[in-house]
Subunit: 667 residues, 3 copies
Amino acid sequence: MKKLLFGVAYYDEYMPCDRLNEDVKMMKEAAVNVVRIAESTWSSVEPQNGVFDFKHIDRVIDVMEEAKISVIIGTPTYAIPTWLVKECPSVLAVTKKGQGIYGARQNMDITNPTYLFYAERIIRKIMERVSKRKCVIGFQLDNETKHYDTSGVNVQLSFIKYLRNKFPNINDLNDEFGLSYWSNRINSWEDFPNVLGTINGSLGAEFEKFQRTLVNKFLSWQADIVNEYKKENQFVTQNFDFEWRGYSFGVQPKVNHFEAAKCLTIAGVDIYHPTQDLLTGSEISFGGDMTRSLKSDNYLVLETQAQGFEDWLPYDGQLRLQAFSHIASGANSVMYWHWHSIHNSFETYWKGLLSHDFKENPTYNEAKIIGYEFNKFGDKLVSLQKKNDVAILVSNEALTAIEWFSMTLDFNYNDVVRWMYDELYKMNVGCDFINSDSCNIEKYKLIMVPALYCVPDNLLERLNTYVENGGNMVVTFKSAFTNENVKVSYNDQPNIINKCLGITYNQFTKPNNVYLKGHDFNVSIEDNKVSHWMELLKPTTAETIAYYDHPNWGGYSAITKNSYGTGTATYIGCFTSKAVLKEVLIGVLKDSNQFGQEQEYNFPIIIKSGYNLENKKVVYYFNYSAQKQTIKYMHNEGTELTKNKTIIKGEEVLLEPWNLIIVEENI
Amino acid sequence: MKKLLFGVAYYDEYMPCDRLNEDVKMMKEAAVNVVRIAESTWSSVEPQNGVFDFKHIDRVIDVMEEAKISVIIGTPTYAIPTWLVKECPSVLAVTKKGQGIYGARQNMDITNPTYLFYAERIIRKIMERVSKRKCVIGFQLDNETKHYDTSGVNVQLSFIKYLRNKFPNINDLNDEFGLSYWSNRINSWEDFPNVLGTINGSLGAEFEKFQRTLVNKFLSWQADIVNEYKKENQFVTQNFDFEWRGYSFGVQPKVNHFEAAKCLTIAGVDIYHPTQDLLTGSEISFGGDMTRSLKSDNYLVLETQAQGFEDWLPYDGQLRLQAFSHIASGANSVMYWHWHSIHNSFETYWKGLLSHDFKENPTYNEAKIIGYEFNKFGDKLVSLQKKNDVAILVSNEALTAIEWFSMTLDFNYNDVVRWMYDELYKMNVGCDFINSDSCNIEKYKLIMVPALYCVPDNLLERLNTYVENGGNMVVTFKSAFTNENVKVSYNDQPNIINKCLGITYNQFTKPNNVYLKGHDFNVSIEDNKVSHWMELLKPTTAETIAYYDHPNWGGYSAITKNSYGTGTATYIGCFTSKAVLKEVLIGVLKDSNQFGQEQEYNFPIIIKSGYNLENKKVVYYFNYSAQKQTIKYMHNEGTELTKNKTIIKGEEVLLEPWNLIIVEENI
Amino acid sequence: MKKLLFGVAYYDEYMPCDRLNEDVKMMKEAAVNVVRIAESTWSSVEPQNGVFDFKHIDRVIDVMEEAKISVIIGTPTYAIPTWLVKECPSVLAVTKKGQGIYGARQNMDITNPTYLFYAERIIRKIMERVSKRKCVIGFQLDNETKHYDTSGVNVQLSFIKYLRNKFPNINDLNDEFGLSYWSNRINSWEDFPNVLGTINGSLGAEFEKFQRTLVNKFLSWQADIVNEYKKENQFVTQNFDFEWRGYSFGVQPKVNHFEAAKCLTIAGVDIYHPTQDLLTGSEISFGGDMTRSLKSDNYLVLETQAQGFEDWLPYDGQLRLQAFSHIASGANSVMYWHWHSIHNSFETYWKGLLSHDFKENPTYNEAKIIGYEFNKFGDKLVSLQKKNDVAILVSNEALTAIEWFSMTLDFNYNDVVRWMYDELYKMNVGCDFINSDSCNIEKYKLIMVPALYCVPDNLLERLNTYVENGGNMVVTFKSAFTNENVKVSYNDQPNIINKCLGITYNQFTKPNNVYLKGHDFNVSIEDNKVSHWMELLKPTTAETIAYYDHPNWGGYSAITKNSYGTGTATYIGCFTSKAVLKEVLIGVLKDSNQFGQEQEYNFPIIIKSGYNLENKKVVYYFNYSAQKQTIKYMHNEGTELTKNKTIIKGEEVLLEPWNLIIVEENI
């Protein structure tokens, strides 16, 4: 991509009056150069079974084309029309709660052939209509696709066939999943019970893994249809989203993003996050690093908040700070959901760039500045290449398995992932994400392994080898505890990688009034406390970084570090405070030569960099606070782009609240 | 009505032994002059389909008649007999939870023809039996009637017909309700989906509005039957109840009381409230003002607590204080639920005047004092006429719509209503309630408009005119935001009345650490904080009473006041503390000449007044506290009725804890 | 029984590899002498309908027999195989939530004939196979049997027949249960409604009582089958469990243990409890006293925790302290659930003596010490006879009824029971439990009656006589309020026993800011507060121990004591602090000559005693704390068994943290 996309989702269908020309005028004033349309609007495009009406799509494309605004077409399949459900109620997914009821989006069974039949027809009809239009630059398949817990009879039958393929001998299934427990054995495939009632974590987690594969199949199927029509230079993307905690939080439980992204030409994402005093940039960075890693390439931010919802109305400067933060992570677009605020229905308070009155407002006015700047020097920022030496190894399977065994952990997998990610973010350590299928694990100097609860033996062997060959690794509690079938290892814990870690343990507990001792971290007493989980580590070859401070557990190690081959492996056996984690990570970064001048600055000063299309280094300094910050510019001489001024190494720079500088180095 | 009714609900059917004569003896000792019977007892009166047994009704009427105690007959239709459900299970309402199950009351579909057939028959049978009896003074239709969320196929079909009548062109429905959103369009009436699944707030709120009309129809239908039998001087009433928060709190979501009251000859109500240290009288006043306003007339308190439930056992004096508080609001009756405490089933701990042992107890003994006083000077208190210059405009539609959009407001409509009402109550400002259909809006000097979220344009125009012509108005945040179809206005906000208010806004947020500034209220820092909601007001012609105190929002107004025509319009753009609201209201009251000597006293001294049948002014001074209070009597010379002593203006009066004086002015 | 059993549950079926010989070796090292097998494993023993496979049972028995380890066989009926549910889905219980779904244990209808048919066949097959084996010492019927809320059509039909038998005249049912209320009358048996919807507490509680009888029938039926096969010296037991609050808390709501135990030769139980800093021994004592009381005999601890779950990993010394605590309460066994930690499924973190790695660990190593000591001097501890003069009267019916009327009490029956039990425990007062059918009530010197809410008249008369004849009794609030049909008495409260108590009341409330006054207890202000419930007591002949301290209720008594005949009856009319209760109990204990030297010590010093098979007194001193404790040995000269040393009266003894001494008196 050669220019930054700056845009909005636009719904002509939802307008209470004809706004199209006025809207385009206001878009042009904000230098908006792309709109996403058609997603969610099946019932407008096909008001009755087989009756098609392209008026909204046509007129928007016509006007945009004339205005030189690009268009991304979303297939409308994630929200189904009333006539479809009335004619064929079985398209609604059956879940633990029974069969769904019409109303919400994302309530269908994505494997239902009736749904697929009609979905295919509407996709083809739209593609026929739009794919040759000049302004159409790409396609978004469906939207925020997940499996929606679909688990009706048809899905369960497919699951049984899938299992039979995996375990031709049913006894292997029983043994591997431990189904003898509580008389759950399935001694004949015909006896397979309704999987929704299972209490067996291996079986339950396998079903969820199977459900994730349905998303891959569904998206590939859509991609194949779209590919029949699309022109070479048009992209195909998906709008991935994350574990939702009122905002984009962590690894998505219901999709394996790495797998699902394979059928796309470019990954896309939506990122929503707290703002006002709670704006940190960490979700923007997390979501960006994750999405960039899916295809090891730039990605599209297809949705992010404008005025958002409840208390997300941005302070002055925040919208712009956010926009450049996306670009600094490798995004090639910033697109708001959405242009105008909707006057009815459900997301009425999830506000767009414009409020319900369609007039100028401070948020829209700030978008105009962003558009101006994207236009002015976006060519120096677009398609930023990142070169990170640190990677975080994530796993949908670990996430799911820890949900199944959450009784032992009152917080979940993503709490551990974000605990680790956020400390790296705050120290300006750029990182990529990898998963168990990544082929490029070995290229990193430092790999972070949070709570990799279930994991196949071969990946653990590979990690041993990685460390042996000079890699550095930080592993947390609850890693390498079970195999890929959520069967706990009966070898020494942690399974296999106890070798590179130089520790083992066979007892653990939830800590009550347990602290750390024996380290030299400069942390408060409260920060010295451990919580949620602790493993009673016994080093074999490792040295102890911290012991537990407790009358009964004082002899056990809590954090250890081991030299193995030419690498090092650090183990954190308990959930510590952020302050302690930071100290541990500083040690590891220093040991692995990853602690540089950028780490001298910390959040709220955030530094990001990469290489632009001319292979020049571009460096961002962000001030994520309401206070002015003075920093010393530490990179090579270059041009500060927002002011178009030369800046030299060592120069003092004043960063205004919620503001930033961007430097393109001269060499 | 010429005398105060003092009474109880009486259930001969529930007695564990024959108590009738002994009970009547104890009632007479307490000067009880009315009992309400038959309500809830269908299964006793019609033990089998078509088999009738009037023994309990007959014997109670016989004995009451002889004892000169009046009787109110309740139709027994709100609790259905076992045989009816066994014969016709479909009489149980279908709701979001599926079809109901027998056991609780109020579980039937009030539109089901089988239910209506049997209900009509039992009503007619009872009316035939009792309507000509001398002691029977009136009839209560059903009890606490609501729509019970009935929404089975039959109800939804009626709803579709109702909608088709409202929107003959289905595209108007789609446009007005914004059904294009998330592909919810209904392009043909046959496609109408199960409304219980809808996520469309316009459609959902309309369905609830439709459900409320079912209550009106049901009660009118009962009234028509009862009217066929009743004598001229017998009244027809209903026992309305309120939004329930463990006690009677606010506007009832499931009934439009104004509409439902039209078929009655007198409105009735039940009012339950906290007591002991938490007794304030505000629920008595709120419920009374509301019920009096329904027909702009006196009303019946058909149920209130005796010993009540859990921690409602009254302190000495409280029962009497409460009784006169009802009368001071315009009630013509005080009736306890109920005479005796029930020995089995469900409301065993919702205790009556008598405990389970049927013996005298302090609560019953206090009732004897009340009865004695009602008897002695009740003729001077009965049928009190209230003349209020202040009215509060309430709306079931706003309540429902705010429930649909509660994601933006973690408290609901009634929190705003009560926030406003309670401050007026505490300042001794008498008020009426009006609704959007009230024809008498213009007679008030001051109208309060809490959170009138959805409202038709013509009412807003009318409010503009009202202010222009000299009226005064206080409007809060979240008013005039949508039209009657819960479609957000795309005009300047607040829709239409921005004209009289002299402000507009197009951004809002949930406030975090936002305070007020720029006013001269004498309030604490904590009381200066705003919460839950804030709109960023920009005055056009209004003056600013308070600005937001916040780094980013400091330029916006929070509370404004505008002169418009010969009236004034005040806008409160955020949820403030009670203390700030009080200061704002004092200003408005002073400006509109509503701030008099009675406002010099505040809660716990509560002053109420009205005009009796001789058109003499009657004034109550209540002490709602456990402390003695000395006040200066400020009204005209008259007779203090409880002591039957002359009292003169300026006289110092000592009010004992939880006590009162009542003065009939001489002139 | 002549020797202590020390053992584990053992599941060869769940093993991820062949561990049998290695496990037996490790068991022998820990002096384990019994394993419990086969429970839960139906799907392994009968992999298909009518196909049997005894390999796991056979091989375990073979190896255990050779190792001289005894075996208890559990019938496998509490967890049903997949094929059974696939063939006959109706075996799953129908409850309020609808029909169950396969997966969890304890989900079947224990009255379903299909289930009973297959259950009988598998029991007979197993009994044929194992009952003559030398090492098999007894049988456990099912496991933690309860009624699982089964309430399908068949169960409800049985219930109607049961009710018709109890009330041949349906009007008696209506009168006794108060069904006229809310039109719930059942005027013909055919009209009987679905009992799951009832709001009538009498009907609802009766149904739960009926459901408890199903457990008795089911266990008797199993016992009859097992008895056909068992040898004379083999025992039959059940593994009872308690109200579960994350650990064993109180009286089991879903089984009447006294009734259910009648078909057993010895009672069995599982006891789980907090540990680490929260270990108090009170659950061990409570569960032990209860289970010993069922048959007035020794009992088996069939399950207790090893490493347990979440934060139950024991500190050094705790496992041993717990083991001897069980024995000191009269247990003849300590058996861990379970030997090894399970590698899959659901209870993966409910860890056994061995962790998942099967290696030695501190918990297993402590078990070795226990096994060694049981072996060395267990013959002096086994079959301990307890002679208590204090009993607590408990009632399933009161528990259920208080659940139905919990709106008046935000804590339940067991909170009152444990409040009372725990204070006795902490004062080293040994006690038994009795129920309303106990024939030995009169043998106790002091009877505690917590919240005996519903109770037949004849038991109350019996208690009057008991006190009259010199018995001492402590009764709490909410006792004798209703009869056995949960019909509130209309006599003076408390019903009938107001005679021996010398008090009455007819008003009560939930207390807000109410304290006690008029007593001479040395307690803090906070401890003087009452909560949850208070009755306004009026003494007739009783003296007042404490009054309420409150402006309105200050004239009422809160705690009273009455002399009646030659006994005394104390009434506690409110929920007090533990400190106040302790003071009251000390007074009662002193008055009834139950306050001896053992009461001079308090928790964490716990003293237990009994008589061994040689009729010598055995005394335990436990230190339930992390601090060393010095005590003065107060019993007769004897041998301290753990050190095998003579100890004399008055000798100072140092108790290490979480440690104990055991003395067998010489005479």
